[in-house]
Subunit: 210 residues, 2 copies
């Protein structure tokens, strides 16, 4: 598997394949086809085949795909079967919602700690974790070795905090701060979440005559 050669758009479609296959499996459907997947995901059958071929040989001519087997393969490819430690930095409203609502285990991670700079928040409990002060981040990282950090901090603090975490061995950032983190992709991976982009897309699609 040549990860480096797989395009960004194919990678972005993987979660959708996985979600849809999970739905099919839950509905008790055993078999599907490129055509069926394509209809559901708004792609052509040939694009589905091309996408999946990036990762291996899954379908069988004349049969299509076994839903459970393909779902399981994608699970392994995406890494959802892992149990990698994650840390949330920023225990404000957003950090709280993410701690309480994101099922990290379903994505191959486990929440291992929550940090904040505000001493008034430190010591309080969120989703079963006691919020720790940023002063103790080094110690925590040495012990727990979080693989990813979820950044829920103000934009101004994001880059500096990310650099600090990177030096502590963090390899990936799920970034909710309102900025695109500057990162050397050969060393760390960044997922910048821009909720506003989604709302802008909806705005664009609204009738123009209102």
């Amino acid at each position: 598997m040549q990860k480096a050669s797989i395009s960004e758009s194919v990678i972005r479609r993987l979660p959708r394949y996985y979600r849809f296959l999970s739905q099919l499996e839950e509905a008790g459907i055993e078999r599907t086809s490129s055509r069926e997947l394509g209809v559901q995901l708004g792609l052509t059958a040939s694009q589905i085949r091309q996408d999946l071929n990036c990762f291996g040989e899954f379908g069988q001519q004349g049969y299509g795909y076994n839903v459970s087997a393909l779902r399981r393969q994608l699970e392994l490819i995406i890494g959802l079967n892992k149990n990698r430690p994650a840390v949330i930095v920023g225990a404000g409203n957003l950090g709280k919602v993410i701690a309480a609502n994101i099922d990290f285990g379903a994505y191959g991670f486990r929440l291992a700690g929550i940090f904040d700079i505000d001493r008034r928040i430190c010591g309080s409990e969120i989703a079963g974790f006691t919020v720790q002060h940023m002063d103790t981040l080094e110690e925590f990282c040495n012990e727990t070795e979080p693989l990813i950090a979820v950044l829920c901090i103000p934009q101004e603090a994001a880059q500096e905090t990310a650099d600090r975490l990177k030096d502590l061995g963090v390899k990936g950032f799920w970034n909710f701060s309102h900025c695109d983190l500057d990162a050397d992709r050969s060393q760390v991976q960044v997922e910048n979440v821009h909720l506003g982009d989604s709302l802008m897309t909806l705005s664009y699609r609204m009738p123009k005559d209102d």
Copy 2:
């Protein structure tokens, strides 16, 4: 402008163009080129030109683009200059975070009300709004005519609530419930937010040897 013919991926890139141009403008940069935009956004110069040509003639041969003018054009195209009423349905943790943290005005909307089904939450105040009970939704919609609804409710309730809001004239859904809403795109527009997809993408990109 033939909106129907513009591809999903071009539409999805519009917010990124807009954000990057806003950054350039803030930095006092007056002029940019397809090549520069391309480098920043990970696209080719020709793709940038093609994308922008979907919406009009913006650049000038040998000059490139005037940053402020192009940013302003995109603002109008996306509809960010509007002031369309939005309603949040679901005043739990997520609803609260969205009410408090999303600057609706920056996206061409204004928050007009927050609703919940739980009478213990109703009457409490969030981001300057008193949470109203779903029983009064009809009355509210008749008066305020919200154009979009932000769904922050459990998955089980999402489709039914969306149908009810659609019948009340809502034309767009920003859906944070963990499901893809079923919608006739000719009548309503749906933006399903799947934070998990983003975390899965990060999971995929993590080193495989951990």
